[in-house]
Amino acid sequence: MTDRELRELCQRYFDAIERGDLETIAELYAPDFGFWVNLTGEESSREQNLATLRDGSALLRRRSYDDRRIDTFETGFLVRYSVNVVTHGGKRSSFWACVVAQCRAGRITHIDEYLDSSKFRRPAASEP
């Protein structure tokens, strides 16, 4: 995949997560997709990750993936971003994260996500 294709795939993916568009996300995941996050150190499957996204989106009024800085490499992309969240009760919080994604033939085959779970409990005042 070219640099441009990888960047477009990255943006499509995060736009779809923001919208809670699980159909598009499912299209973007390769059949053998795997997801890993530094919070648990465990690998989850395509279906497990889609279920997590579906359950997670119901908990929030809005979440946006802002300030996306994308770099591409031969087999995938790196994206650094801030996540801004609004709960149904109106509470806001933010944290910084990054994703390293492996891609093939227009789809994402693997994601490694790194974030700081301690930020989930803090108010937005001290965050980005």
């Binding site: 530094n38 919070l39 770099d71 790196l78 990054c98 790194y114 974030l115 700081d116 301690s118 980005p128």
Partner: protein
């Protein structure tokens, strides 16, 4: 810088960090190097980072930066690794970390570090 040069610089940086060779780290950091962490959300200078290292190193008997997965892109690298630490009382812990390094003329100009601070206490063998 070429892919090979960036990879060598990345490994040289982590080898020096692991072996506590602060003088070599000072050579690797560009004069205007900036270090940023997702845990604190603030930038520090390379000089400030180096000045904090002796105290930081004193906290553990040994640290190793293992399982390094490196990808390079135009202007830098992303490295995913496991930080293994052995405390002075023998406690062993591991953290999963991702660093994005920007490079210029054989030196590192910026480091963005992503990790989960909720794991620090377990890593160090402390109660929360």
């Amino acid at each position: 810088m070429t892919d090979g040069e960036i990879r060598e610089l990345c490994n040289r940086f982590f080898d020096a960090y692991q072996d506590r060779r602060v003088d070599e780290l000072a050579e690797i950091y560009a004069p205007d190097c900036i270090v940023w962490h997702n845990v604190f959300g603030r930038e520090t200078s390379g000089a400030e980072n180096l000045a904090a290292l002796p105290k930081s190193y004193a906290g553990q008997r040994r640290r190793t930066y293992d399982d390094r997965t490196i990808h390079t892109f135009a202007g830098g690298f992303v490295i995913q690794y496991t930080l293994h630490g052995v405390q002075h009382d023998g406690h062993r812990g591991a953290l999963w970390i991702c660093i994005v390094g920007l490079c210029r003329n054989g030196r590192i100009t910026r480091i963005d570090e992503y990790m989960d601070s909720s794991k620090f206490a377990a890593w160090a063998g402390r109660k929360r």
